[in-house]
């Protein structure tokens, strides 16, 4: 290792050249990266429930939908109906739109002069008052329409359901649809659906570069405050850019899309990577202040601090790589990018940083006496205090843990998409407006497996539809039963459902005579063995959604009997099972992170030191989630990442433990050793906390709620780790590590 270090230092220009070339290559990879705004990336792609959902989409051609609600004083007047007709036609003309269902082209079957007429509900422009009266009457009386599916009962709004080919980009479709609606409708309108959410994600992700710049500037500012030298900014800047570029480039060359939650990765890379520079440069400047020359300072920096940085980098990367076990693409991507970026930062800090220091002139550092500066003096006093009162400090820590457990018990998980966007965003505003007008803004799809030509089953299905509407937060329900109900009434003149199998089949023949294969198979498959029930629901929390689905399941059992089985799917249902996946990912990533960090630290340093440090980190995590519960912050995908992130990020605390153990082996008393460790390592811990905290603070500017919440909680976490490292950890060392055994390798830290 020593020979390698010398060889690299002799060839500093080659080293710099290598990093420039490699970073350029990585930059090309980063440019190849495709940003994916789809909400599908929030869901586990290969989960059996997702596969089932895709199969249902294929069978029934449900595709992706956008709902647009048009508001007016009265939509059932000629001018407005003409505008709706023109808008419907324009929307149909957008490439990617497969179908538009609106008031003006909804089919209507009616009797006139003994003939059964099939026509458009609004047959022509400028309908007469008589025709409008007929339309109103039909909307109020027709079984399939009377729940306000196409227009509000008071005429204050009209709804358009726009089906979109899933192979088209949803955010682009949302923009196109919005443009067409603005051009054709003079008045207020609101929209919701996956395309609208994708557009919102696109808007949010445009802010990521600015966030990264803010993080970088804050980190560099803290580094300058610490080192008071341009070198303290320039050299870390180079190292951080390497980490960022290589992280992005690696994913770009692998063809992995950049997804919403991966916004955390660049900030985490910058924050964690800066701590490597902090430790290494801290040692470098210390050696210069002792009067040593540049070459000696670099060798001592690498020899004494390099291994610690290497181990920290490994430990943090390992905890990030635990996210690769997640079922969710964006969590896996976030973990991989962060791990690669941190390894790149570590590599750059151990190879590029020394090379740059070797090439650049050494800063003039005033020789420092043995007397502590202001921060170190205060830390020394803290260390002395802890030395006198370790047990009360530990008891305080235990009390905080107990309080935190109360907070943890209050945590409410919520993986619903609505919780991810600000309440004042266009997507959420539109969602609430559509819910009010339409009766729901998202759907639960219930697939009925049975004989869909059995009159008894169809009667049960109709009963299900009627009774489902009385469940809170459930809106209109559509199925083959409602279509047959309307058709039977028109054909026979009698309310109710067809009573015999033959009549069901023959009335379905009439239904099929007016629709294409896709129209027919949108409600039932071709051999009538599966039917789709579309249930419109309000967007509520995942726990409330689970309750709704449980009630719908019980109602289905009661109304359909043994003649059919049901399965639930749809975005709403998938969000409710996402919670289970997120909790599972949280448990796995946290456990694995603890284990991996423990193993890595134990192999290089000491098991006992690693264990004591991990206990302290665990304390911080409990505190972190306790705060989340006490402040009513919901547990979601991003907060599930915090555990493993905190373990990885907080690993720098072990520097204090190791310093204590070294001083104990030098013969200092436990209390004196702790005082030294807090005074010396503590300074790095303080500046690392500020640097990390400053970096993560940039996340709070994100309009993506989980990322902003994560940013706030990570600020709390890094400072909690810092405070715990300077209080709980020294106290724990005094109680549990009074007589440490010889470590495998000695590592010297500030």
């Amino acid at each position: 290792m020593h020979r390698l270090m010398e060889a690299l230092l002799k060839r500093s220009w080659w080293v710099v050249g290598f990093f420039v070339l490699a970073s350029a290559l990585a930059g090309l990879g980063a440019l190849r990266m495709h940003i994916n705004f789809s909400t599908e990336s929030f869901f586990p792609k290969n989960n059996p429930i997702m596969k089932s959902s895709r199969q249902v989409q294929e069978t029934f051609g449900t595709g992706k939908n956008e709902i647009v609600v048009l508001f007016a004083d009265d939509v059932l007047v000629p001018a407005r109906l003409n505008a709706i007709r023109a808008l419907t036609a324009s929307l149909q003309g957008i490439e990617g739109v497969t179908k538009v269902i609106s008031l003006t082209d909804a089919p209507r079957m009616r009797e006139e002069g003994g003939s059964l007429l099939t026509e458009d509900l609004v047959p022509a422009d400028d309908p007469s008052p008589g025709q409008i009266a007929g339309i109103k009457d039909y909307l109020a009386s027709n079984y399939a329409m009377k729940d306000g599916l196409l227009a509000a009962k008071d005429g204050s709004s009209a709804n358009l359901l726009i089906r979109i080919d899933p192979s088209f980009k949803m955010e682009t479709m949302s923009l196109k649809i919005d443009k067409v609606v603005r051009e054709n409708w003079k008045g207020r309108y609101e929209s919701t659906g996956e395309p609208v959410l994708s557009e919102e994600i696109m808007r949010i992700m445009k802010g990521i570069p600015a966030m990264a710049v803010v993080a970088l500037l804050v980190i560099l500012a803290f580094l300058f405050l610490n080192f008071r030298s341009p070198l303290g900014i320039l050299v870390p800047l180079a190292q951080l850019l390497v980490g960022l570029l290589w992280g992005l480039g690696f994913l770009g060359w692998l063809g992995i899309d950049f997804l919403a939650l991966m916004a955390i990765a660049p900030i985490a890379i910058l924050a964690v990577g800066s701590s490597f520079s902090l430790h290494l440069l801290g040692r470098y400047f210390l050696e210069l202040s002792r009067g040593h020359d540049k070459a000696h300072a670099i060798r001592t920096m690498l020899g004494k601090t390099g291994l610690g940085v290497f181990v920290s980098g490994l430990a943090i990367s390992a905890s990030m790589l635990t996210f690769l076990l997640s079922e969710i693409d964006m969590i896996r991507g976030m973990g991989l990018m962060t791990a690669v970026g941190i390894i790149a930062c570590m590599f750059a800090s151990l190879v590029l940083l020394p090379a740059l220091l070797n090439l650049l002139p050494a800063p003039k550092i005033r020789a420092r006496g043995e007397k502590d500066g202001g921060v170190s003096l205060r830390l020394r006093r803290l260390g002395a205090f802890i030395g006198r009162h370790p047990k009360p400090i530990l008891a305080t820590g235990a009390l905080l843990v107990l309080l935190s457990l109360v907070g943890i018990a209050r945590i409410v998980p919520d993986s619903s998409l609505v919780a991810y966007f600000p309440k004042d965003s266009a997507a959420i505003r539109g969602m609430f407006a559509v819910e009010k007008a339409f009766g729901g803004s998202t759907t639960v799809s219930m697939v009925v497996n049975g004989d869909l030509q059995d009159p008894e089953l169809l009667k049960g299905l109709l009963r299900f539809q009627e009774e489902a509407k009385s469940i809170p937060d459930v809106g209109p329900v559509q199925s083959l039963a409602s279509i047959l109900r309307s058709l039977h009434e028109t054909l026979s003149g009698q309310a109710g459902m067809p009573a015999t199998r033959e009549l069901v089949a023959q009335e379905l023949l009439v239904y099929q005579a007016s629709g294409s294969v896709d129209d027919v198979s949108s409600q039932v498959n071709l051999d009538y063995s599966q039917g789709l029930v579309t249930i419109l629901v309000h967007r509520v929390s995942t726990s409330e959604t689970k309750a709704i689905i449980a009630k719908l399941g019980a109602l289905a059992k009661a109304t359909l009997g043994d003649g059919a089985t049901v399965e639930f799917t749809g975005d709403c249902f998938i969000e409710s099972i996402l919670e289970r996946i997120v909790l599972r990912d949280f448990a796995i990533s946290l456990s694995l992170a603890v284990l991996l960090v423990l193993m890595i630290d134990s192999l290089i340093r000491s098991f006992r030191a690693a264990l004591v440090t991990i206990i302290v980190l665990f304390f911080t995590i409990v505190l972190q989630y306790g705060v989340q519960g006490l402040f009513g912050l919901t547990f979601n995908m991003a907060s599930a990442l915090m555990g493993a992130l905190a373990i990885g990020v907080g690993d720098y605390a072990i520097h204090l433990t190791v310093r204590y153990m070294e001083d104990r082996r030098r013969g200092l008393t436990p209390e004196k050793a702790i005082e030294e460790a807090v005074a010396t390592s503590g300074r790095s811990i303080v500046y690392t906390s500020f640097t990390l905290g400053g970096g993560f603070a940039a996340l709070t500017f994100s309009t993506f709620v989980p990322v902003a919440t994560l940013g706030k909680l990570m600020i709390f976490t890094v400072f909690a780790v810092g405070i715990a490292s300077l209080t709980i950890l020294p106290a724990a060392c005094l109680v549990f590590l009074r007589n440490p055994v010889k470590s495998r390798l000695e590592v010297s830290h500030e």
Partner: protein
Amino acid sequence: MNSYGCLRKSLATAMVAATLALLAASPLQAQAALSGQEVMDKVYNSPKPKGSVLTMAMVITKNGKSLSRTLTTWTTGDVAKGETEKTLMKFLSPADVKGSGFLNLKKPDGATESLLWLPALGKVRRLGSGASDQDQAFFGSDFTNRDINGFVRADFAYAVDSFAGGIYAVTATPKKALGYEKLVYHVDSSTWKYAKIDYWRGGKLAKSQTVAYDKVQGYDMPTRILMSSASGSSTELSFTGYKLDQELGDQYFTERFLKQ
């Protein structure tokens, strides 16, 4: 040989070569010289039976599931000749739709009368005609009513795209809104029947129809028609019974016969 003699010899050789080339090319040249309109005139004018009774099986397939029906159709008349087009369809299977029927009478002036008979309902319903009837799907299949009834020759402008291997590719561009942007016919010049039609909508291929023929009572009749849609569904019509050149009197196109 003097120079004048050489020149004469060269000229003669060239003329023979040119004549041979022209003779060799002439059948192709003559064929390729047909315009799109001429090709389609031959298609439309190819012999067709006057009245017919056809039995067919219709199988609609999508996502691995299929729906099968068999039906018999009685057809007679040609609106282009000033006659009333009469079509009666009766379903033979499956059992739950057996006996259901549709009767359609289209007069030369365009007026249409349609009757629907559902045995389970026990009454005949008169259906009103809508402007978009022809563009509606034929019993939930990939065919539209217009695909089944046939297009009107005069509604399109025709142009030959290519002629190779005896097959004309003719693009038919509608002169009015007919639900498609264009149709591309692939016409076999030996029989003047189209083997394939591609239907285009919105710049994309929406569906394709392929037809197999056989000689029945001297006519080239379709035995199998397959319509494949870009959305993944397909509908196959297989003809299993032919009674051609039938004198189908008015008694076949009445409410009474519909209910039998």
